[in-house]
């Protein structure tokens, strides 16, 4: 089994003729937190959505290059199977409003048949909510609906929902962009504890967040990977001036 769970080679992506990604090459090790950072509009979210082929739902998309997840070319596998193993959590909290807190978390487990009994499902829901530090806040109101939660709690609920699917890779698109600092810290702490269970690829435009959570980072600027490496190295000794500017907040 390869040490790399995601391998991207010379990825070019155009949307309606506009080139968004220009020859992106990177590899992500298993059970690490890989942070793709970069200024707004650099193509980070587009890259993330390419990994699980959510980009297929957009019109006018042209993809060239190789993207392998779990050792397989993503265009040679069923996209729905791919998305069950490579789950994305969006920037905007989006729990299903018509389902209770319990059912939101339980749904992917039921769909993916990762549990065999009601007890296993209950245990999985509890595990997922504990992992995102939400269990104590909602354990007495699992039958309530998500609108009773705060924005930060809803985002953690979405993270729990993604974890309940038992994915191999978790894609996080600026998961704390719209939430308060307290919930941001909780999510970041949750991510660090998830390393053993899942590989995390997170996108952020906030360098200080990358500093706090990342094992490995890459800087994406104008569709190109400018620099990548272990987080400590990149933050302490950036090799490129663009990286330096980004870390100083000048980009």
């Amino acid at each position: 089994m390869s040490a790399y769970i995601v391998e991207v080679e010379d990825l070019h992506l155009r949307i309606r003729g506009a080139e968004i990604l220009r020859g992106v090459t990177l590899r992500v090790r298993r059970n690490t937190i890989f942070v793709l950072m970069g200024p707004s509009g650099s193509g980070k979210s587009t890259f993330l959505r390419t990994l699980n082929r959510l980009i297929d739902f957009m019109d006018g998309v042209e993809v060239r290059g190789s993207v392998k997840v779990l050792g397989q070319d993503i265009y040679s596998v069923n996209p729905y199977d791919l998305r069950r193993k490579v789950v994305l959590v969006s920037q905007e909290p989006n729990p299903f409003p018509h389902m209770t807190i319990y059912d939101n978390v339980a749904l992917p487990a039921r769909l993916n048949k990762v549990v065999k009994s009601k007890q296993e499902l209950d245990d999985l829901v509890r595990w997922a909510l504990e992992k995102v530090m939400l269990w104590d806040e909602v354990k007495n109101r699992l039958r309530n609906y998500p609108h009773t939660l705060s924005g930060g709690q809803r985002q953690r609920l979405c993270l729990a929902r993604a974890l309940a699917a038992k994915p191999e890779v978790l894609l996080l698109d600026e998961p704390t962009a719209n939430i308060d600092p307290v919930n941001t810290i909780k999510i970041e702490e949750s991510l660090k504890s998830l390393r053993d269970e899942v590989t995390v690829i997170m996108v952020t435009h906030m360098p200080h967040q990358a500093v706090r959570v990342a094992d490995h980072v890459a800087l994406l600027h104008s569709g190109v990977i400018v620099e990548e490496g272990p987080a400590v190295e990149v933050f302490m000794n950036p090799k490129k001036e663009v990286t330096n500017e980004f870390l100083r907040g000048a980009l």
């Binding site: 789950v87 299903f96 018509h98 769909l111």
Partner: protein, 254 residues
């Protein structure tokens, strides 16, 4: 304190009076209709009692006011059957058009619905007569329901399309991100999110079907001697009786 100039206050009062007068003019016919219906219909209902709803219509030899049971049951059943036929079709068409807006089948759906909505309902009735009634050899509740379903389909389709388009993109992405295919997203997410809209769409289609007359003229028949004779047999409907009463009334006028 600022005080409006007199000319503006005068204009304001004049416009207010005009609006009130137009509103009264607008509402008066409606109140008159409701009053007449309640006065005359209420008198009959009080005299006849609940049997007005459960009895057969009067015959020349019968005494008493009789009832509207065949028409009532026919209208209820025809409307229910119509929405059972049209609503799922409209719902699935709306889903398909929303999910695959550029597919050629979506364009076909749009053309079909626009064509249906532009056809006068009497023409729909004649079409169903020439195809279904003639093939079956008789008018029937089924033919009437088919006619009503063709008329209600465009309304339901437009309503459901609007409902599907109102689903936030974030929810679609959430469903797809978890590995659901489109059918799975429809069943597990969209139907739940749209359940209020689905109920409203059903009710709107039902009301539309219940009150429509022209689609039933050549298709439903005019059953008088039984409450219900079967789906493949003639039936009756309240709007048809209204037409008949008006026709009789007109004949009796000097």
């Amino acid at each position: 304190m600022y005080r409006l100039p007199d000319s503006r206050r005068f204009k304001n009062r004049v416009m207010l009076l005009i609006i009130i007068a137009v509103s009264i003019l607008y509402v008066t016919p409606l109140i008159s209709i409701i009053y007449t219906a309640v006065e005359k219909g209420g008198t009959t209902l009080v005299e006849a009692g609940l049997s007005f709803l459960t009895d057969l219509p009067p015959t020349p030899l019968s005494s008493g006011a009789g009832g509207i049971a065949p028409a009532l049951v026919g209208s209820l059943l025809a409307s229910i059957l119509a929405i059972l036929i049209s609503t799922p079709v409209a719902f699935l068409m709306a889903f398909y058009v929303t999910e695959f807006p550029r597919h050629s089948l979506s364009r076909v759906c749009e053309v079909v619905v626009r064509s249906f909505s532009g056809v006068p309902s009497i023409v729909v009735s004649m079409f169903v007569y020439s195809t279904v009634v003639i093939s079956m050899g008789r008018q029937s509740l089924l033919a009437g329901s088919l006619s009503l379903s063709i008329v209600t389909l465009p309304y339901a389709y437009v309503y459901f399309t609007s409902a599907f388009r109102s689903i936030p993109e974030s929810l679609r992405e959430a469903a797809m991100s978890l590995g659901m295919n489109r059918a799975g997203a429809l069943i597990h997410v969209y139907v739940g999110v749209l359940r209020g809209s689905i109920v409203t769409g059903l009710l709107m289609s039902y009301v539309r079907a219940f009150g429509d007359t022209a689609p039933l003229l050549f298709t439903m028949g005019f059953l008088m001697n039984a409450v219900f004779a079967g789906v493949l047999q003639q039936s009756n409907a309240i709007p048809l009786n209204d037409i008949r009463i008006r026709a009789i009334t007109l004949r009796e006028l000097p």
